[in-house]
Amino acid sequence: MLAQDIALELKSVTKIYKGSVTVGPIDLAVRQGEFFSLLGPSGCGKSTTLRCIAGFETPTSGSILLGGERLDAKPAHRRDLGLVFQNHALFPHLTVAGNVGFGLALRKVGAGEITRRVARTLELVGLAGCGARMPSQLSGGQQQRVALARSLILEPPLLLLDEPLSSLDLKLRQQMRDELRGLQRTLGQTTVFVTHDQTEALAMSDRIAVLSNGRIEQVGTPREIYGAPATRFVANFIGESNTLAATVEGIRDEVATLRLPAGQLLRARLPAGTTRRVGEAVWAIVRPENLTIQPAENSQDDPTRLAGTLDTVSYLGEDIHVRLRVPGLDPLLASMKATRRAEVALAVPKIEIGIDACAVVVLAR
């Protein structure tokens, strides 16, 4: 990453509260124009990190830079950042136009100019002509757009979004997700987005930082985070996964053979540059969609196919989720498209499970 590409940088930021809650050290670099998500369960430190950037919390140590300049020395009102909250936080005593023009009025911009820019920004968020209404007369989605417009009108170098979609219902949330992402791309708006919703983070982000217990577990693109989780936490927090305890039995041509507790074998392709020792205890992580199920054929004698039985089968319309029992293992989860072939495979109780070596992620245990 080139230095001039970096918009926001957090260097060893920590926040220590009286008591046991501690965040950091957090190191992050957000690129110019990037949509960057902080993802984690509640209490992981994502909101604290955002509040440190916004200036509502003072980091105990570390520094925050925006465009190469120290941000953490400035009070919140001189950071010129855009901020949108989950509950919108619109000013209830002002009209929509009053809310959107608030920042400009504060900066003593002329009335004519304010009117023009408010109209333009409302149009941008799809609320043209709504300026005279009061916030209480708007729907949740519209209020969210006003909150967005109120921040965007000041053309902030950085937009902070604190779970902005969580208060909306599912349909609207999906729609707003696309709209917000579209708007962010059009404007090239550098954005830090805080969420606990992994689907949201995967769908919207250029890159994601996954946080747990005040620390960053992994930073990467949605594809990297999902396909190559760096830790067990990431594997389990983002999507579903099967985590199997295993021992490295042998390595050949960057393919490791793993032995499961009940003796079955599993092959895993190791990414270039990874070092695993024979005899090492590892976790083998497999996504449910990477398990393939076939009716058991007694003639076949492939040691890397796991023999098992069907436990429960749930039809979810488009997909089928299956719980499988394999001797010596915790129940495995598999998911597949609800095709005719899948239904045939699931019609017999005794099955074989195949696992693609490329889809197995090996982590140190």
């Binding site: 916004a54 200036g55 009102h77 950042l81 936080a89 619109l90 000013f91 504060l106 000041l154």
Partner: protein, 261 residues
């Protein structure tokens, strides 16, 4: 739903009757053409209202004492009470609970005792009880109401509003003045109304801290009951009820516009 049950309906009617009956009797008596204390049947008369406005002691008690005292006391109580509420809710003070209790004391102590105490203090300090002592006493009675109303409104204001304002460029003080205060306006007005009514209808405190030239309307009514006891006092009470009622209706009208319902 609950109100549909006949027993509950009866109960509601009884409670309302209990609350309204004395007021209706007073209003009825004030229109009585004779000097008897009874609700007129047939003919009504405005003679007691004429008498009320023609009698200097009544007229002065209303226009020169009760109204100006209530206005001054409620104005002071509103300013002090609102500031106290802001301090109690927002300031990082150690003995918050203790402060709050002190401000609430006038609600807890019987106001007749408070009046007696204020009288004794005034006398021992060499003050004569006058308009000022009356205003200060009533201010004291009004402050807890203002604190309660403004304080609970302040607690209910989302702190994120101020954070949003600060992210848009407001200093903490600007954020408070531009975002919090406008949203407290109706609560401050409602606190002021309470304070006005408390002062306007008080008699216990006024008995002690009002001087000879500052007889409030309730005191005037009270003393007239012993002396003459004609329906002028009913007319006086009705005038008082009308003033308070109008004030409350006016405020509700304003609040409705403000709240946007």
């Amino acid at each position: 739903m609950y109100g549909r049950h006949p027993v509950l309906r009866l109960l509601i009617v009884c409670v309302l009757a209990f609350l309204l009956a004395p007021i209706l009797v007073v209003i009825g008596v004030s229109f009585n053409p004779t000097s008897a204390f009874r609700i007129p049947i047939g003919a009504v008369s405005m003679r007691w209202y004429a008498r009320f406005f023609a009698t200097p002691t009544f007229r002065d008690a209303l226009f020169l004492v009760s109204l100006p005292v209530a206005l001054a006391a409620s104005a002071l109580a509103t300013v002090i009470g609102s500031l106290a509420a802001i301090g109690l809710v927002r300031a990082r003070i150690a003995a918050r609970g203790a402060f709050e209790s002190v401000f609430m004391l006038p609600l807890l102590i019987p106001s007749i005792l408070l009046g007696a105490a204020m009288y004794l203090v005034s006398v021992s300090l060499g003050f004569r009880t006058n308009f000022l002592t009356l205003v200060l006493g009533h201010m004291l009675l009004g402050i807890p109401y203002v604190i309660r109303v403004v304080g609970s409104a302040l607690v209910a204001i989302d702190p994120r509003l101020e954070e949003a304002a600060r992210s848009l460029g407001c200093t903490p003080v600007q954020a408070f003045l531009r975002v919090v205060v406008p949203n407290l306006r109706s609560s401050i007005l409602s606190g002021a109304t309470f304070a006005f009514i408390v002062s306007f209808s008080d008699i216990n405190l006024a008995l002690f801290v009002a001087g000879p030239e500052t007889t409030t309307l309730p005191i005037q009514i009270y003393s007239q009951i012993f002396w003459e006891g004609d329906p002028t006092i009913a007319a006086a009470s009705t005038v008082q009820i009308i003033i308070v009622g109008t004030l409350i209706l006016l405020m509700q009208k304003i609040f409705k516009i403000r709240v946007g319902l």
